[in-house]
Symmetry: C2
Subunit: 204 residues, 2 copies
């Protein structure tokens, strides 16, 4: 064991504690406060364990869990960008790439590269594992918004068409869960938790 | 896919959101607030990833991560019991066993049994994987207490002998990390973050 190597790993472990201070828009299911990105990542990793049987061929569940645990670390430097914030999302990729360099750079080089690669695989969203992980990341806020009678959707006046665009990756990343997602959205519109998309015919 | 099966899994996923409301005694490393058990579990799972190379022979890191993700779920019903609370720890095992039955019982039977078994393996602390997971669970609060100039130790007047007893499982669960733990404790005493054990010779 190299003391220096362990020192770097401990520094990384201490540094990532700051993810617990990054607040997302999503509310906890009891509506009492906003969720932070660390507990969100925990929730997603357990979702991967619990919903593993719906993962398409080629998904490595252990890798998906690791990916989900670290996927939001870059927010420590870059902050959480609300998914419906068009302007904030314009330079998001650049800010997050810089954050990844710094944070994974705290680790010993070989390990930092491995973590960085895993994060990059998630961001690129091309492999079955990354697609499945992304699908879970889209499903979790739906559950929270439904449990809080619309939660973030109501606060920000989000419409069905915006949510449909946001959750689209579920259809390919976790096709077995897609009917559940469509039903949840239908139910949310019916319950008044989510606005129907504007009818184009009434716009003129 | 059975709709009923998925419904049970989603109910479990929604229910465990409550772990985010369970506060531990430990402070975040910036000292701003107490840590909750969900974000604590996230931190431990990443520690398992980051410190995997120090795991003794026979440790399954993926299993250790899963174990750490679910190990505190029982606190949703049983609450978090402070490790130095003698009275609270007397009936802890019974309260947590009841909680495990209810929570893992929300899942489809086969899956609930699998999660329950994993939790039980952690609690029993007999396998190399459970011992390694327990070691990480003991190391993480040390880091937080050191980062917060004594944190919980100072608040509750905890002494070195109490901490030594608490961290003892690291010596067998993660022997390669034991020198680091001893050094951290020595440093904490030297810095005044942790009281030295009372000298028996001065007691009479």
């Amino acid at each position: 064991m190299s003391i220096n190597r362990l020192t770097q790993q401990i520094q990384f472990i201490i540094e990532i504690d700051r993810l617990k201070l990054i607040l997302r828009q999503t509310l906890l299911t009891d509506g009492s406060r906003r969720e932070n990105s660390a507990e969100h990542s925990w929730h997603l990793a357990i979702m991967a364990m619990s919903l593993a049987e719906y993962a398409p061929l080629g998904v490595d569940i252990s890798q998906a869990m690791k990916m989900l645990l670290i996927h939001d670390l870059v927010e420590i430097d870059a902050g959480d960008t609300f998914c419906y914030d068009v302007q904030g999302n314009e330079n998001k990729a650049h800010r997050e790439a810089q954050a990844a360099l710094r944070l994974f750079g705290l680790l010993p080089a070989d390990q930092g590269q491995e973590f960085h690669q895993l994060w990059h695989e998630f961001e690129a969203g091309k492999t079955p594992t990354a697609k499945f992980a992304a699908a879970l990341d889209r499903i979790q806020p739906l559950l929270h918004n439904q449990q809080t009678q619309g939660g973030t959707w109501r606060i920000h006046g989000i419409r069905r068409d915006q949510v449909m665009k946001r959750v689209a990756p579920v259809e390919t990343g976790a096709p077995e869960l897609w009917p559940f997602v469509l039903q949840l959205i239908d139910d949310s519109v019916a319950a008044g938790y989510l606005h129907e998309a504007p009818d184009i015919n009434t716009q003129d």
